[in-house]
């Protein structure tokens, strides 16, 4: 079945620095989604990418979908303490109502 791998598992960042988390699928995806989970909370939908090579921005967050639709990245610039949490990618195959989640990247921020 479809597998989605996410790296790194942990990211310790100095406040103000940039970082990137990566997501790779074993199969071609119809779309990919990103979620954020704050400590003690539930996953919250951030964004969905559908097109090959698509890039979307949300303030300091930049999301990219690879040309082959098998990988994605999330880049955060000028990290703030509000960025703390775990970021998950989730891939969906064509004609499927299920998502396959990556294991997540847990971000901590040093002030």
């Amino acid at each position: 079945g479809q597998q989605v791998m996410q790296i790194p598992q942990y990211q310790h960042v100095q406040e103000g620095e940039d970082f990137t988390t990566y997501c790779n699928s074993s199969t071609t995806l119809s779309n990919i989604q990103w979620y954020k989970q704050r400590p003690g909370g539930h996953p919250v939908f951030l964004i969905q990418l559908v097109k090959s090579g698509e890039v979307k921005k949300q303030k300091r967050l930049t999301f990219q979908f690879g040309e082959a639709k098998k990988n994605s990245s999330l880049h955060i610039t000028a990290t703030q303490t509000t960025d703390v949490g775990t970021y998950f990618c989730a891939g969906r195959a064509d004609n499927d109502y299920k998502l396959s989640f990556g294991a997540g990247t847990t971000v901590t921020v040093r002030a």
């Binding site: 989604q33 539930h42 919250v44 969905q48 998950f88 989730a90 109502y97 299920k98 294991a103």
Partner: protein, 113 residues
């Protein structure tokens, strides 16, 4: 929050006892999902439902059963709880036929001793 509630929010139970977790939604969504979350594994799909009495297995369905007799309720049952089922359980909905994102409930933390 897509009108999703889960009950109970916390539960401690003993090995071998049956446990039922409830997911309730107020917005008449057709698709509902049960996940478990464990460190290092992300969210793993247990079962999902695509309508009343229509359910299917996910990747980690062994030891779990589900029922959906009403649109608004999706129940997850552990027939005989084991320590390996200690986890945080999340329910989610998909908001529409052409929308593929999911919205999650607050979760249930289950501990099996």
């Amino acid at each position: 929050d897509a009108g999703i509630t889960q009950s109970p929010r916390h539960k401690v139970t003993e090995t071998g006892t049956p446990v039922t977790l409830r997911c309730h939604q107020t917005e008449n969504h057709r698709y509902m999902y049960w996940y478990r979350q464990d460190p290092g594994h992300g969210l793993r799909l247990i079962h999902y439902s695509y309508g009343v009495k229509d359910t299917d297995k996910g990747e980690v369905s062994d030891g779990y059963s589900v029922s959906r007799s009403k649109t608004e309720d999706f129940l997850l049952t552990l027939e005989s709880a084991t320590s390996s089922q200690t986890s945080v359980y999340f329910c989610a909905i998909k908001p529409g036929p052409r929308a593929y994102e999911q919205y999650f409930g607050p979760g249930t933390r289950l501990t099996v001793t």
